[in-house]
């Protein structure tokens, strides 16, 4: 089971700041596909994924207990 943090417009679209994915291990790319297919979060394609507060690559593996965040293009400053 993996917990996914959502922010900004994704949080509003999903109507939640947190999603739960019922997988033990999956890659960043697999997670993105699940978010699109199961939750229609198409903006995920424009987003970065962070695992434990570090930006991750599509091929990186997400393990149980990791904190995963979907990071839309940032607009701070």
């Amino acid at each position: 089971m993996i917990t996914v943090l959502l922010f900004a417009q994704l949080q509003e679209e999903a109507r939640t700041a947190t999603l739960t994915i019922n997988e033990d291990v999956l890659t960043v790319n697999q997670l993105k596909n699940q978010l699109i297919n199961a939750y229609q979060l198409y903006q995920v394609n424009e987003c970065m994924i962070a695992i434990n507060e570090e930006y991750a690559l599509d091929i990186d593996e997400i393990k149980p207990g990791d904190t995963v965040a979907v990071i839309p293009p940032v607009s701070g400053g």
Binding site: A50, E53, P73, S75, G76, G77
Partner: protein, 157 residues
């Protein structure tokens, strides 16, 4: 230091507080950047802004930017505070303070910091207008990340 150099806060930012974090007897120059909420952007009137952050990671990324700066401009000190929540026109969203023995580095490092904030720090801005609202994509005028990811490593100037 006893002071947090890289902070996300919910209350108003006092510029002086951020400046004081980088003062030192060996410093001859301090530059600050103060980002404020502008009323008009591309002719559209903003009523207020809402900033959201992934706070723990944002503070980590701010600290990473500080590390990049100390590597590129040895001898500089950096402090950055970014505010989140609802901000009105003229409110301060971010203060970057850089001190340095010499002024050139203080200017360059400061500008580098704001550019990097707009690349890698997980903070988002929602504009509220008279007739609607929208989360902004990044301000570098990109729809998505150019290479599929932000420039995590901090390229050259």
């Amino acid at each position: 230091m006893g002071q947090e150099l890289f902070q996300i806060v919910e209350s108003p930012i006092e510029t002086e507080t951020v400046i004081n974090k980088v003062k030192g007897r060996e410093m001859g120059a301090i530059t600050t950047f103060i980002g404020t909420v502008r009323e008009y952007t591309n002719g559209k009137r903003t009523i207020y802004l809402a900033y959201q952050a992934y706070t723990s990671m944002a503070e980590k990324m701010l600290a990473q930017i500080g590390g990049e700066i100390q590597e590129k401009w040895p001898g500089t000190h950096v402090a950055i505070t970014h505010r989140v929540g609802a901000l009105e026109i003229s409110d301060i969203a971010v203060v970057i303070a850089v001190s340095s023995p010499h002024r050139k580095a203080a200017y360059q490092a400061n500008e580098y910091a704001i550019e990097r904030i707009k690349q890698i720090v997980p903070i988002w801005k929602k504009e509220h207008w008279d007739d609607g609202e929208a989360w902004l994509g990044d301000q570098l005028e990109q729809k998505a990340y150019p290479n599929g990811k932000p420039e995590i490593e901090g390229g050259g100037l």
